[in-house]
């Protein structure tokens, strides 16, 4: 009798503890700060399919600004951006170890800004975002041990200590942030900056040859990082994205260059090849990070290196890599929405220099009886002085998504034009690949045509062709104020 109650008690205790552990795990997942500057890149990394990452990018936010969408779009390179805010080399190292458990990249790219960090431990936020995304395991424990002094081990181990305050700001997203609910696989970690609040530092530092030694702990883990990768026959590429203060930091990167040579590793210092890459003053978001304009140039350059010197394959079309397609599409949609300023659009156009047409996703606003679409079509030639835009491409394609009740309807489009250049223009309009307009217009006229939406879709691909313009000869076609669609 006594034994039975003992067993009963033991069973009750065990069940209770199990409930507790499950609830505790759930609490942790809900309360953890879903920061996309370290925590979610790591969390979503775990959701990637096995061996679908060809290039792993590690580093602080200066790495995070590189867009994996651009890499895929231009080169079909499957890259994942495993970065963290202010991530020092030791966190990069443990992140690498963790990543290599489930992926076998061909190249590992490390951004070496942490070479200029002069601290033993990051600040509190840095410690959190660079460790809390990791799953429980030896790497997690090691990361804690190295990232923080011993008084704070418990704090990082039980992240709930910091996150429980979030009870004041919980949102729906917090409760849905589980891999089986959310589509974590279609995130590749990059963070895009859209603003341009400061000019890029484009000083010429070719004359700076001094060396400044790295902080000992930083150097130790930089070496460990490189060695760990090389031991597993993974190639390493070190890069330095544009710095906020080139001259002050250059000596550190000279030192990095020396270390790179020691290991036979390539080091691309964008501060020294800015002209080759084509950086301009406006490519910077806040002086330290590049915005999407700069990102396109930079990533393009690096992608080129990866393709030609490291032979990273082109995965476009492969079924396993469909998440990259989706990611790229997601990012592009976001770019169009975010870049509301004309300069952004100009950059958008500039980057598609190879293409004969400009692709635009135009947001449609319904207002009373018509549908308005703001059209910003800039080509970066010069500042507009009025509130209209013009194009110099031979083709201008606008993708318009109408409200659902427009399916199958007949619509009339009116492009309010501010100016038609060169006297007159022959304009051909195709809507969803069928020609609906072909006439010459002269200055002062507006472009108007009819078209029908398909019965099963609300999307109209409206292509304007200007046959008089040859590709890239930089003559203007017309200046559009806006487009109004009426039924």
């Amino acid at each position: 009798m006594a034994d039975r109650s003992k067993i009963e008690n033991l069973a009750k205790c065990s069940m209770f503890l199990i409930f507790f552990v499950i609830l505790f795990w759930f609490c942790n997942k809900v309360f953890i700060l879903k920061r996309n500057d370290g925590i979610t890149p790591m969390q979503n990394f775990y959701a990637q399919k096995q061996n679908t990452v060809d290039v792993l990018f590690c580093g602080p936010s200066l790495m995070g600004e590189l867009g994996m969408d651009e890499l895929w779009y231009d080169y079909g390179i499957a890259g994942y951006n495993l970065w963290g805010s202010g991530e020092p080399f030791w966190n990069c190292y443990f992140g690498l170890k963790e990543a290599l458990k489930s992926q076998k990249p061909r190249v590992v790219v490390l951004e070496v800004s942490p070479a200029s960090y002069q601290f033993e431990y990051s600040d509190n936020t840095g410690q959190l975002v660079n460790t809390q995304g990791m799953k429980f395991g030896k790497n997690f424990l090691d990361a804690i041990r190295v990232s923080t002094p011993k008084e704070k081990y418990l704090e990082l181990f039980f992240g709930i200590q910091t996150f429980h305050w979030r009870f004041k700001e919980l949102s729906r997203d917090d409760f849905l942030h589980f891999t089986w609910i959310q589509d974590c696989i279609t995130d590749k970690g990059s963070f895009h900056y859209y603003h341009n609040n400061a000019k890029m530092d484009l000083t010429d530092i070719s004359s700076i040859v001094e060396f400044k030694n790295l902080y000992p702990k930083a150097e130790e883990y930089l070496r460990l990082f490189i060695e760990y990768a090389q031991q597993r026959k993974i190639q390493v590429l070190l890069i330095k994205t544009p710095s906020i203060n080139r001259m002050a930091e250059a000596p550190f990167y000279n030192c990095v260059s020396k270390i790179a040579d020691e290991y036979g590793v390539k080091f691309i210092d964008t501060n020294r090849v800015s002209d080759e890459i084509g950086f301009e003053l406006d490519d910077s978001a806040d002086g330290g990070h590049i915005n999407v304009r700069g990102m396109w140039k930079c990533t393009s350059y690096i992608g080129n290196v990866l393709r030609n010197e490291y032979n990273v394959p082109d995965r476009r079309g492969e079924k396993q890599y469909i998440s990259y397609e989706k990611y790229t599409e997601k990012c592009h949609k976001k770019h169009i929405v975010e870049m509301k300023d004309k300069k952004g659009y100009a950059a958008e156009v500039l980057r598609s220099t190879q293409k004969p047409y400009l692709d635009l996703y135009v947001p449609i606003y319904f207002s009373s009886y018509n549908y308005n679409a703001p059209v910003f079509v800039r080509c970066g030639l010069s500042e507009p002085d009025n509130d209209f835009s013009w194009t110099d491409r031979r083709f201008l394609r606008m993708v318009c998504n109408f409200p659902k009740n427009c399916m199958g309807k007949d619509l009339k489009a009116k492009y309010n034009l501010a100016q038609i250049f060169n006297g007159n223009q022959r304009i051909i309009v195709y809507v969803n690949n069928s020609r609906v307009f072909d006439k010459k217009l002269s200055n002062g006229e507006n472009l108007e045509f009819h078209f029908s939406l398909p019965a099963d879709s609300v999307t109209a691909h409206i292509m304007l062709e200007f046959p008089n313009l040859l590709n890239n000869d930089k003559k203007n076609a017309l200046a559009i104020k806006n487009v109004v669609f009426t039924e």
Binding site: F16, F19, F20, L23, F24, F31, L154, E155, Q161
Partner: protein, 529 residues
């Protein structure tokens, strides 16, 4: 070995009763206690080792050695005192008690004498002394009271002196009580500390539940009130009227939830090990008078001063002679002939209570003399009050009258306690003056309440936690015996309900507790004694 030493050092970095490591170690200790300890019959030795470790972890070696001085003294005196007679006996007793008290005063209340000396120095023109703030051995205020109680109990024949010095040491530094009491008398724990304890599942569970409840009170309620109190006390010149009053009165609530939460944790921890310690709180704010509240608030202190100061004083020949003198002069049936001698005793008692809290006037007044004034004043003016009640036709058996008494008691008690947190007695007076400078009832609706240290969400968590506390206290109020009724009631329910409550409590603490970075939960109010 090196690893073990490093591990110990790492743990001991912070080993207060609020630390994670303390509870983890306690869990591990309980396992050893009930397995190895029971089998080898060395449970009390394990307790002693644990208590030594705890003491050393919270206190420097030097102070620990200092602590041993009065302990050894008391131990030795207790062994010999009953062999002496007459004058020598009284003298030894007096010296022993005086030495212990002096020891306490040296460490804790020294500044009182320095300040008094400086005041006299101003008048008589001699040199000033510097105020000194020195570290004291852990729990010295509680320790000394326990030692004095032991000495007196032995001399009064209430208990046999403990011959084993190690067992005596265990009594003095038993780890659940060193931080903030309760002030435990030797008779209360003698049988339990050195006995063998079997593992009792129910008792173990109740102990754990009590600990969790204590954490709930401290981490969710007390520390939140602390933010309000800190904001208002820290900036009192900018507050007036009701806002200031809220801060001043809330301090008492903070002390209550903090202290009683701490006591719950201590008593719960002890209960896990099978040792029942005396209660310190019994729903104090349900009291109807200031005398009653001191039978329900910090009970062990109240009983201590009653048994070891008040009674000896009132029974002493001096007071008896004074009493007889008054009786002959004022008449045997005269109220005042009975009251005045008790007032003398009470004055000493209240002064002591206040002085024990701290050696400055804000403590002496806020912790003691205020109550003396109120109680003695109440007794003095009793005929007046009786007359008022009669002519106003107040019915004293109604619930509304009882409620009035409770509210009045709480208010007066809170006023006294509020002085203890003020920077000084004078500042305390200034603060209370400011309360009446402005009549501002609008602060209750214009959002000020969310700007005095807690934002709206924290405020609601506080209110909700407070309501739960109130509910539990109401449930326990009816029960005169141990405060175990709530736990038993829950234990009598079905398992799903029980587990929802237990898990709910635990996760409330994890989610809503005031802990973690940016927050220091180790500021016990009564642990500075």
């Amino acid at each position: 070995m090196h690893f073990l030493y490093n591990l110990l050092k790492f743990i001991v970095d912070d080993f207060s009763i609020m630390s994670f490591w303390f509870w983890t170690c306690l869990a591990a200790f309980a396992v050893i206690y009930y397995t190895v300890g029971k089998r080898l019959r060395v449970q009390w030795i394990l307790l002693l080792l644990a208590s030594l470790f705890f003491y050393r972890a919270n206190c420097s070696t030097k102070l620990m050695l200092w602590m041993l001085v009065p302990v050894c003294l008391t131990y030795l005196v207790a062994l010999v005192i009953n062999n002496l007679q007459g004058l020598r006996r009284s003298l030894l007793l007096f010296c022993a008690v005086a030495a212990s008290v002096a020891f306490l005063v040296y460490f804790k209340e020294r500044n009182f004498f320095i300040v008094t000396h400086n005041a006299l120095a101003c008048v008589f023109n001699f040199g000033h002394w510097e105020k000194v703030n020195i570290a004291a051995p852990l729990g010295i205020s509680y320790l000394i009271l326990m030692l004095v109680s032991y000495t007196l109990d032995v001399s009064w024949g209430l208990v046999k002196p403990q011959k084993n010095p190690l067992k005596f040491l265990l009594y003095v530094i038993y780890f659940p009580i060193t931080t903030s009491g309760p002030i435990t008398r030797y008779v209360e724990v003698e049988n339990q500390l050195f006995a063998e304890h079997n593992f009792d599942y129910d008792r173990f569970c109740f102990g754990v539940q009590r600990v969790v409840w204590g954490m709930f009170k401290k981490m969710i309620v007390a520390d939140r009130i602390g933010l309000i109190v800190g904001t208002i006390y820290g900036n009192w010149e900018n507050y007036t009227g009701f806002t200031l009053a809220i801060g001043l009165l809330a301090y008492t609530l903070q002390v209550y939830t903090d202290f009683s939460g701490c006591i719950d944790m201590a008593l719960g921890a002890s209960q896990i090990l099978g040792i029942n310690l005396p209660e310190n709180f019994r729903q104090p704010f349900f009291s109807s008078s200031l005398s009653e509240i001191w039978r329900r608030w910090h009970m062990t202190l109240g009983f201590w001063v009653k048994d070891y100061i008040l009674y000896p004083m009132l029974k002493s020949r001096l007071i008896q002679q004074f009493s007889n003198f008054l009786k002959t002069r004022l008449g045997k049936k005269n109220r005042y002939a009975k009251l005045i001698p008790t007032w003398c005793g009470m004055l000493v008692v209240w002064f002591t209570v206040g002085f024990w809290h701290g050696g400055s006037w804000k403590y002496i007044f806020g912790g003691g003399l205020f109550f003396f004034i109120m109680i003695a004043g109440g007794q003095l003016l009793e005929p007046l009050f009786a007359w008022l009640i009669r002519i106003m036709r107040i019915r004293t058996e109604t619930a509304s009258w009882r409620l009035f008494h409770r509210l009045r008691t709480f208010f007066l008690f809170a006023v006294a306690v509020s002085f203890q947190r003020a920077p000084s007695f004078k500042t305390g007076l200034c603060m209370w003056k400011r309360v009446f400078v402005e009549f501002n009832p609008w602060i209750f609706v214009d959002g000020t309440l969310f700007n005095i240290g807690l934002d709206a969400k924290d405020f609601f968590v506080l209110l909700f936690g407070g309501m739960i506390m109130l509910f539990v206290e109401l449930g326990e109020h009816g029960n005169k015996a141990e405060s175990i009724s709530m736990r038993r009631w829950i234990a009598g329910q079905n398992i799903a309900f029980r587990w929802i409550i237990y898990l709910g409590l635990v996760f409330s603490i994890i989610i809503f507790g005031m802990y973690g970075p940016d927050y220091n939960a180790k500021s016990f109010i009564y642990a500075g004694f």
